[in-house]
């Protein structure tokens, strides 16, 4: 075993031991003392745990890679996944805390006085959560394949096994302290390499400022800003300008951001956290604290992305573009390059047989013509999976081995904690809302628990198998999940609080139409259940609806949901008196009951 493997095994092992140790300690010591009825969890602690719960493989492993290759265009992820907290804090969190139930479908079932509404909410929740887990599986597969030096598929199978043990044993279940530990591991793992790299490239230790600082080349100030340098380096190879490159058109970026924001505020495993703070006013602050802890990673990510891209380009393009010795010799490729080749996520093909690596944009016709003049026969980096960038970044920047090991541990913490949280949301929706709530109210507690285990195992298998051919990079797949949540759950919750006249028929038709339209659009482009080859109506332009991509379509679905719900509710009878009184009551904090115990909330 080489030095890096030893480091990786020890750091990953040590962090796992830490989580399990905390879980055991928190259970053995008097948990009740900590959560006595009505005391709940402190808003700062809850904010940190929410941040760990929420930041997943998409945020940790995938997002900076997408920023690296989409530049400005990837801003949709940054704004979308943070701006959603504003909606959550202002429009939902305090009211749902006041309402004081355990699950999101429970709120919908009660507010809309309808079991049918509850069932529709459960279906929407399962669709969104399973899609979300597929995204996590992609991230876990990438992390394990690199960590164990195997192919992506094998990494994914091993990941499935570990998630299964993790979630079913329940070591992670709702233990706030464990999540705080996970947050610390993942945020250190993210920021330490970023600080090193920022110091290296700009001399400024704060990545947030480093990205806007001057570029330092081999210890000498270049007189250019880092972003200008990056723009120059990639445009010389025919790529689009980093700081203005868009993802689709302006409308697509608008819709994409909106879809992620609304989705953030509609995802059940996040909402549930605000049910458990002591008071309504704490629910307001708690969302703010969660965003502070999330923002530490989110404001660092743009620097990680830009700097990773610059380092990657400089590794391969070692001299002036077009000169004989300007490109790295394949046999001189660094160690990390070889390791990622074994995973199949990085692939090189010597198209012109010169033994050197040419990495450029051969889709750019002008530049491709010019490249032919250099004797280049096409881009030879035939596969650079975006999801490897964060994990490869410290190696590309030649950071010490313990930093690289820490990043692997951080990525696993992010992916596993979120996957476990989502699986709990799925299993509780099936066992508590569907089985106990609707079909078999007299089910025994033991049978309910068994049902939830079976549901969890089923979700892991489905998500894992679909993760073999994920519909996109981890962050892209997760974006679809947000679109599904945006188009179904958020409008029903918001209207339930802000529109007293909203009735059961309106809410049901709204949710059903919103999610159906979104799902059909996604399946049309990405295949039914994301299975390749089952796309339909492909005669049409790929993004035919005003250039809005499937990942961004949740925004349109949400608008349809709102419109249908408002129209249908006005054409049908008003909700009964007691429901209108309930809405009035939810709107004021006074009289909020004690917070449910978080693990009780998750068990339900």
């Amino acid at each position: 075993m080489d030095n890096l493997s030893i480091w990786t095994y020890s750091v990953v092992g040590a962090t796992f031991a830490l989580y399990i140790g905390i879980a055991i300690w928190a259970r053995a010591s008097s948990t009740a003392e900590f959560y006595v009825a009505g005391k709940g969890i402190h808003p700062v602690a809850n904010g940190m745990a929410t941040a760990a719960d929420w930041m997943s493989a998409a945020s940790f492993i995938s997002m900076a890679g997408l920023i690296a290759f989409n530049g400005y265009g990837a801003s949709v992820f940054l704004m979308g996944w943070t701006g959603g907290y504003v909606l959550l804090a202002l429009l939902l969190a305090p009211y749902l805390r006041k309402f004081g139930k355990f699950t999101v479908p429970e709120f919908i079932g009660d507010r809309y006085y309808s079991q049918a509404a509850r069932i529709v909410a459960v279906i929407c929740l399962i669709l969104a959560s399973v899609t979300y887990v597929i995204g996590q599986m992609k991230g876990i597969g990438v992390a394990f394949s690199r960590f164990l030096e195997t192919s992506y598929d094998v990494g994914l199978y091993i990941g499935m096994g570990i998630v299964f043990v993790y979630a079913v044993l329940g070591g992670m279940k709702g233990i706030t302290y464990t999540q705080i530990a996970q947050y610390c591991v993942l945020i250190l793992a993210y920021t330490i390499p970023a600080i090193f790299i920022s110091l290296n490239l700009t001399g400024n230790p704060l990545p947030q400022l480093g990205l806007g600082s001057g570029y330092v080349e081999n210890g000498v100030a270049s007189g250019m800003s880092l972003l200008d340098k990056l723009d120059q380096v990639i445009m010389e190879l025919g790529f689009q300008e980093y700081t203005t490159q868009k993802m689709g058109g302006t409308l697509n970026m608008f819709a994409y951001t909106l879809s992620l924001m609304i989705g953030t505020a509609g995802l059940p495993h996040v909402i549930i956290r605000f049910f458990t703070v002591p008071k309504v006013k704490d629910a307001r602050f708690s969302a703010g604290w969660a965003l502070v802890f999330i923002a530490i990673l989110y404001t660092t990510a743009p620097a990680v992305g830009a700097m990773a891209r610059l380092n990657l380009m400089n590794t391969i393009q070692i001299g002036p573009v077009g000169t004989e010795t300007g490109n790295l010799k394949y046999e001189d490729r660094p160690e990390w390059f070889k390791k990622w080749e074994t995973t199949g996520l990085l692939q090189f093909e010597d198209k012109n047989g010169d033994g050197r690596i040419q990495y450029y944009n051969d889709k750019n016709e002008d530049f491709a013509a010019k490249a032919e003049g250099f004797g280049w026969a096409g881009n030879e980096m035939v596969k650079v999976d975006r999801d490897i960038m964060v994990l490869a970044n410290p190696e590309i920047a030649n950071l010490p081995n313990w930093v690289i090991a820490l990043v692997v541990a951080g990525g696993l913490a992010a992916a596993l904690s979120t996957a476990a949280g989502l699986l709990l949301a799925i299993s509780s929706a099936i066992s508590h809302d569907l089985l106990k709530g609707i079909f078999k109210p007299d089910i025994s507690e033991k049978a309910e628990l068994n049902a939830s285990r079976v549901a969890m195992a089923g979700a892991i298998v489905v998500a894992g198998l679909l993760g073999l051919h994920p519909p996109g990079f981890a962050a892209g797949t997760v974006a679809i999940a947000f679109g599904l949540a945006a188009s179904s759950i958020f409008p029903a919750l918001m209207l339930g609080i802000f529109d007293k006249r909203m009735n059961n028929t309106g809410a049901i038709w709204g949710m059903a139409s919103g999610i159906t339209v979104t799902m059909l659009y996604v399946f049309q482009h990405k295949g039914i259940l994301f299975i390749p080859g089952t796309e339909f109506m492909m005669g049409m332009d790929p993004n035919w609806f005003f250039g809005i991509s499937p990942n961004a379509f949740g925004a349109v679905g949400a608008i349809i949901n709102f419109a249908v719900a408002l129209i249908v509710s006005r054409l049908t009878v008003a909700p009964p008196e007691n429901i209108q009184a309930l809405v009035e009551d939810v709107r004021v904090p006074r009289g909020a009951g004690a917070a449910p115990h978080i693990s009780a909330a998750l068990d339900h």
């Binding site: 305090p94 400022l209 806007g212 309504v280 006013k281 965003l291 404001t299 909020a592």
Partner: protein
């Protein structure tokens, strides 16, 4: 609590939401997306301004918005006597 009082509280709440959500919209969709190409002709340190809003600035503003909301609402609760004892 009288129905009038209740209505006034809700109205004050909605007024606050309108202001905060307008700012929320302007910094992200406005400065970060729609107006970004124009703002990019200005720079903030080594950042083009529109790019900065999209990848840094809007996130800082979001944090401030939530804390302002929490403080204002807690004050309103007390003012209207609907806070939790």
């Amino acid at each position: 609590m009288t129905p009038e009082n209740r209505a006034a509280y809700w109205k004050a709440n909605l007024g606050l939401l309108a202001i905060l959500l307008t700012i929320w919209f302007i910094v992200s969709y406005g400065f970060g997306i729609l107006l970004a190409p124009m703002l990019n002709s200005f720079s903030l340190g080594g950042y083009p301004l529109g790019f900065w809003f999209a990848q840094q600035g809007s996130i800082y503003v979001f944090m401030v918005l939530i804390f302002v909301y929490a403080y204002r609402m807690n004050t309103l609760d007390k003012q209207f006597g609907v806070d939790e004892e």
